[in-house]
Symmetry: C2
């Protein structure tokens, strides 16, 4: 706001200020609703007494140019002389008619809904897919902060290349090397979370009507992203050794999908680990049918026992596999840093898409993570995370054994890694009722339908064991089982009516 | 990698290790290409002598299971007994056939090209749209870091809501209030850079074939984003008072565009400021034709002299204007934080799109910016930026006056704000030749065709005055004018040939 005063002018200062403000209001430079600075502040900046400004404001109020309300400050009113741009009283805009045909794909807000419930104070959440929050390495981060400040100065706030900070890309190549993946810097791209990778791939590959193959069930956000680009999704059922490959091949004989999306290691939500043999067979199919594979390896590093199985990317020597991973399941989930390995030409194309999407990923976060890896804090932190996750997994398993009602047949495998139990309930348990009762009892989880394209087979729930504090896991399982027992008894009564089972969901 | 040894077993330890490694390689658990840990490291983790591991590795090498090269470490070879997944020697994948029909819209890499040239050591860049890099407030940031660590602890690395940290949204509402915009928290969304806002809006509003209206010329990334969603763009020419509204109305009578995208204040690239009268008339047209306006206010805060004109959003009382702004033109450009004001129902829908795009914006950056605003550092910093920008603008103006060749008619206005001069060259200057000669002379700029849909009218270049250091601006302008003079003389000779002008670009 430009106000100049002339101390040598015969006009009193407050009049000068008042006239100037009135001119600005009349010209529309200070529009209706504009908040003027507090008197004291304007007085300071003009080098006049507070009373001078007070007098100017008071006059303008009495002339109807300004109004003030407690807590709102001094606000410009609509002056009578201002041309009325609303002479014809416009209709409210119908935004629904502005949205495009994909807008409905953006309406499923299950994630937000579950997170909102999970965020309630007393709620015990088994619903999130979030790493142990207490393990964020605060001491190391202070070291890192010092170190990047000394080394890079203000650069940590400057722009970095679209495809990511070169140093971090190199660090990640080394990390991937230790997972058996050979990837050069040019085959590596930093993402604003690995979910951004799914989004960029969908935008580059999928046209409306294109087919995409996924496991059934699978990661629900991936499905929403593909559908948001107009993809037709085909779900291939999976067992504990991975997706049913003969079903996959029969699909590939009939259709030409754009790609297969798979989570081969500690599959979300089932926890399945695709066997080595199935991995090799899947690659053979990809080669035979010229089909890219998008491998989502968000959980592969989180193995607590059993033997490592190499990733599809590590087994692929022909550049058919696009590999996605993330730091968010281990630490700093809020920094939103993931990465992608793909043939250099695909990285180049994805870079053009990313450039339009968010220009580049937050620089500061990239400097922090790079230093974290180079200082060997990352390795050490992963070991801590593995130990802590394993402990919580065991607590949940023991609590399930302890609290599972004896006469209700439940099935689960102890996951060798990842973040979830996949608990099978009797078919007779009405899922919607169970979910409702469980939330009422203070525990939230992910019901299978959220992860499924079709009607769910069986009757499962996904239970995360890393987000709730160790001492609340048992309590949560106990409450969950109380809810289950209650709903199960209700449904037993329901079964007694002739006609037998009536699955509600 | 799981290796267990049994010290009580009669077999020597190195044989145990060797057999175990071989089994893992044969089963495929350690795939070809897998990097084994260095001998010393494995020895440490097993609690054996380094020689023990050395012997095991040596044997496996001689048997063809491992190989090692300097700098590469010890790597798993393809064992003969491993099932060959490549029996049928797969064809390389033709990625071009996997890309969708929009992929070509992602091929224009002018921004990256210009940034790459600008990044060369000795190059003086007038091409970027970047704030003064030296002004990033390093001292304040140390304060902020301490303050958010004490106040929030590890939360600064945790997830935050998709629509943004509540505290930052409130801070931004206050900031917008001081610009005359009344927006509630529910009408406010944090973006990963304001460019993400354009992307989310395009994805929510634009279907292939839909019309979008922009100024001609305009911000080239916005055009690319809209075209990436299949939009048909109509460009409305503008003069120094904003877009030609009678041309706009004649378009609106014939077509139903999805929205108008405009940069009313310190327009990019021309620097034009839409007059108050034109703003009111534009709103009238929007109301009459039920047309949303997307107002990009990246530069509005950067006014060095002249009078503030209220934003369209401040003038709009009917929720027709979606308002975008950013911190990146003032500070912390690498943090990628922008924001958007829109009716709450639109924010809700955009939140669903954003959730699939990057889940949420980097938390740490949001905590930093919120504290920066609350501690009043932001206000103070803006004042510093305004003073420094103004100084550089004046240096560039003076250099243009000093070095412009006397007989070459050049036209420019001194911009009252923003980051650019928009310099008009004689029509006879062949732009492509001039660009080439200027880069050869060590100066890069943005030629008008980059910002234009159609053949450019006139012959302009965009010169940024904030990114180059103050003492290099004069030097850059001198070199630019040398290049211009050289090319102009060449073209004078060309005009002498019968037939006259032959515009090359």
């Amino acid at each position: 706001m430009l106000i100049t005063i002339d101390r040598n002018h015969p006009e009193p200062l407050y009049i000068q200020i008042k006239n100037r403000l009135r001119a600005l209001i009349e010209s529309g430079s200070l529009p209706p609703g504009y908040c003027l600075p507090p008197e004291r502040k304007l007085a300071e900046s003009l080098g006049v007494n507070r009373t001078t400004v007070l007098n100017a404001y008071r006059d303008l109020k009495s002339e109807g140019f300004l109004s003030s309300h407690v807590g709102q400050g001094t606000v410009v009113c609509r002056p009578v002389s201002m041309p009325d741009i609303e002479a014809s009283a416009p209709l409210p805009l119908s935004w629904r008619h502005v949205y495009n045909q994909n807008a409905d794909a953006y309406s499923s807000d299950i994630t937000r809904e579950i997170l909102a419930i999970a965020g309630q104070k007393e709620m015990i959440s088994f619903a999130a897919g979030i790493a142990i929050p207490e393990l964020n390495p605060i001491a190391e981060i202070q070291e890192i902060w010092k170190c990047i400040n000394e080394k890079y100065g203000a650069s940590i706030f400057h722009h970095v290349p679209v495809e990511g900070l070169a140093a971090l890309r190199q660090s990640i190549c080394t990390l991937s090397g230790s997972r058996g993946i050979r990837a050069a810097e040019a085959e590596t791209m930093i993402l604003s979370g690995s979910q951004q990778g799914l989004d960029l791939l969908a935008r580059l590959f999928v046209s409306p009507g294109d087919t995409v193959i996924m496991e059934e069930p699978s990661f629900f956000c991936a499905r929403q992203i593909f559908e948001g680009c107009g993809a037709r999704i085909i779900g291939i059922p999976l067992d504990e050794t991975g997706m049913n490959l003969s079903m996959l091949e029969s699909v590939l004989k009939r259709l030409k999908p754009k790609f297969i999306y798979t989570i081969p290691t500690f599959h979300n939500p089932t926890g399945a680990v695709m066997s080595l043999q199935n991995r090799q067979e899947l690659l053979r199919l990809a080669y035979r049918y010229h089909l890219p594979i998008v491998e989502d390896d968000a959980y592969g590093e989180l193995r607590y026992d059993g033997e490592q199985v190499p990733s599809l990317k590590a087994l692929d020597n022909h550049g058919y596999v696009i590999y996605l991973s993330t730091f968010s399941k281990v630490l700093f989930m809020g920094l939103r840093i993931g990465w992608l390995h793909a043939p250099a030409q695909v990285i180049q194309k994805l870079t053009s898409v990313k450039q339009l999407s968010d220009l580049h990923t937050n620089s500061l976060a990239q400097y922090i993570l790079d230093a974290f890896i180079r200082n060997k804090y990352y390795e050490r932190h992963v070991r801590r995370v593995l130990a802590a996750n394993k402990e919580r997994r065991d607590i949940m398993h023991e609590a399930l054994v302890r609290y599972a009602p004896k006469d209700i047949p439940l099935k689960w495998a102890v996951p060798q890694g990842g973040l979830y139990f996949w608990l099978q309930l009797p078919d007779s348990v009405p899922m919607a009722r169970f979910y409702e009762e469980s939330v009422r009892n203070g525990v939230v989880f992910v019901p299978d339908r959220v992860c499924c394209l079709e009607e769910p087979l069986g009757n499962h729930i996904r239970l995360n064991f890393t987000y709730p504090a160790a001492d609340r896991i048992s309590e949560g399982v106990r409450k969950l089982m109380e809810a289950l027992e209650k709903v199960y008894r209700e449904s037993e009564h329901a079964i007694c009516t002739p006609g037998g089972y009536a699955p509600i969901l």
